[in-house]
């Protein structure tokens, strides 16, 4: 197992009577692109704010680079680049001046040529002396990434970085994150409420909901689990359930609606059930399969709505 970069244990935070974080724990390893997944209001931003000392947790431990955040705030934050929620800068200053201001308190020496380089890297060359208030949303996001990267941190925290971007902007940000991880060896924590986005770039992830971390692990393992939620459509749902109950002892819980029957099953059993139903002369008009985690996450979001 590679080096632990971030270790969060039993994080709790309340705002008056509202418990924003009840028990959040996760670990991020070196070179991870770590997905921080949860529906809106799950506690993602609050957790990230705690990790950046924007808010003080009520309880729990945060260790980054093996050091306690509380005791080593300067050292830890010097090695983190971040965008929380949306990148906000001084609208009456140019992009370059904004970066100069941020560089001065970044904890590391950042020269003017390094600022120029990072502006070039994020594709804002030619607009560096334009005032921030004239920037489009995509350009603001790029400038946000520039300020997160300019002091060459080892850990980058991006809170929903693709929100509000056009499709090309989303692709650009994804490619940038992968480039940072693969070519520059950075560790990236990426929060999102979209499973598809995490699936595309992250190698590990945690899902949090209602202030609690629900599940953590490798994205490929979690999403490619053989456990599936399968929905069969047929003309005789009751008979279908009876046959399944008699023949497949591992399946006992069904969710029946009209002509649809939904239940949890192993991936390899699907074709066997289908063949068995053909043999029993039960006509199957449709089979819809979803990964259990995906189904769980969609239900979680639907409950939020």
């Amino acid at each position: 197992m590679s080096e632990v970069v971030v270790s969060v244990k039993n994080l709790k935070k309340s705002f008056k009577d509202f418990k924003a974080l009840k028990d959040v724990s996760f670990s991020v390893y070196k070179n991870d692109v770590f997905g921080f997944l949860g529906p809106n209001g799950a506690g993602k931003s609050t957790s990230l704010r705690c990790m950046l000392s924007l808010i003080d947790s009520d309880d729990g431990q945060i260790e980054i680079f093996g050091k306690s955040l509380r005791k080593n705030r300067f050292d830890v934050l010097s090695n983190i680049g971040s965008i929380i929620e949306k990148p906000d800068f001084y609208k009456y200053l140019s992009a370059f001046k904004n970066l100069e201001i941020m560089a001065r308190i970044s904890g590391r020496q950042v020269s003017k040529s390094e600022i120029e380089d990072i502006i070039h890297f994020v594709g804002l060359k030619g607009r560096e002396y334009s005032k921030f208030k004239t920037f489009s949303h995509g350009m603001k996001q790029r400038l946000g990434i520039a300020q997160a990267l300019m002091h060459n941190p080892d850990l980058i925290i991006l809170d929903e970085p693709t929100t509000g971007l056009d499709p090309q902007g989303i692709v650009d940000i994804r490619e940038l994150i992968l480039k940072l991880s693969k070519e520059q060896g950075k560790t990236v924590i990426l929060s999102s409420h979209q499973l598809s986005e995490i699936e595309m770039i992250a190698n590990r992830m945690v899902i949090i909901n209602r202030g609690k971390s629900i599940i953590e692990g490798d994205v490929s393992e979690l999403l490619n689990s053989s456990q599936m939620m399968v929905k069969f459509s047929c003309e005789e749902p009751e008979r279908f359930c009876d046959v399944i109950s008699n023949e497949f002892s591992n399946i006992s819980e069904f969710n029946v609606t009209d002509s649809e029957i939904e239940f949890e099953i192993n991936r390899e059993d699907i074709s066997e059930i289908n063949a068995f139903m053909v043999h029993q002369k039960i006509k199957i008009s449709g089979i819809e399969q979803k990964r259990k985690l995906e189904d769980y996450f969609i239900k979680m979001i639907q409950n939020e709505d």
């Binding site: 003080d56 934050l77 906000d88 001084y90 001065r104």
Partner: protein, 280 residues
């Protein structure tokens, strides 16, 4: 880090258009007063001196730059704080409203250094505003009206200060004026820490100045115990420097009260800012 961020804060203040409102307002206000005095100053002075003309004879240049500076300082010392608060009241809350406080909060600078750098930048801004006030009222006043003895009317009667005994008094008077403005700047920054919108602290500072000025001017026994501790009471302490003899004890007491307010507001702001959750 404190010095680096103070430099950052000065760049931000210089880039904000509202930072120049105070300088423009002072220039316009003092310009209007100077022009009005140039046009009709003699009748204004004769209105004041007429009650003494039966017992005193006034010779020489009474309407001079020294008197003009005194009149301007007296007229504006209650209003200039509003111009200071316009900038300093926005220093923290403006960043919270804009979202930049969140960006700055993730940087490796302690909250104490971050806030103190705002206090220092606010103090530097206030200093230059005071210098501008002094330049316009005293230097431009002397240039337009010449110099001469200063005749001051106070509660004890007329005080005539010889021309060669004036400049050191003005030097100290502007230092005292600066200290009073600094206490207002500190108060507005303190209010700014408690707020997440940029207008609230500015309006609150104005409200406190108006409230304290009213309490300070009301001759009600209930307020007698409060008046000696109000900032606004001591904002007029510069006038004591134009008394003969100068009441140094009263001036030192005023300085102590103003410094107490500055330290108190700074400590309160630091305490709250350190425990504040940045949620904006």
């Amino acid at each position: 880090m404190l010095l680096k961020n103070t430099y950052n804060e000065l760049i931000k203040i210089l880039a904000k258009p509202r930072s120049y409102i105070g300088f423009i307002a002072l220039t316009v206000l003092i310009g209007v007063i100077l022009l009005a005095m140039k046009a009709d100053g003699e009748s204004f002075i004769s209105f004041v001196t007429s009650s003494f003309e039966q017992t005193l004879s006034f010779n020489g240049l009474i309407l001079n730059g020294n008197l003009i500076a005194f009149i301007i300082l007296q007229m504006l010392i209650i209003h200039v704080p509003l111009l200071v608060a316009l900038v300093t009241g926005d220093l923290v809350s403006g960043e919270a409203a804009m979202g930049t406080l969140r960006m700055m909060g993730t940087k490796p600078i302690s909250r104490n250094s971050f806030l103190l750098s705002k206090f220092f930048a606010g103090a530097i801004y206030t200093f230059f505003l005071t210098v501008w006030l002094a330049f316009l009222s005293l230097i431009i006043g002397q240039y337009m009206f010449g110099t001469g003895d200063l005749i001051v009317l106070n509660s004890d009667g007329l005080v005539i200060i010889p021309e060669n005994d004036i400049m050191w008094r003005y030097g100290l008077a502007f230092c005292l004026a600066y200290l009073s403005l600094l206490s207002i700047a500190t108060m507005s920054i303190c209010f700014s820490v408690f707020s997440d919108n940029s207008i609230g602290p500015i309006v609150s500072t104005m409200a406190v100045i108006i409230l304290f000025t009213i309490i300070g001017s009301l001759d009600v026994p209930t307020f007698d115990h409060v008046q000696p501790f109000l900032i606004t009471t001591h904002m007029a302490s510069w006038r004591s420097l134009f008394e003969m003899p100068v009441p140094y004890d009263a001036i030192i007491y005023s300085i102590l009260i103003l410094v107490f307010h500055i330290v108190g507001f700074t400590a309160l702001a630091l305490w709250w800012f350190n425990k504040k959750d940045i949620n904006t």
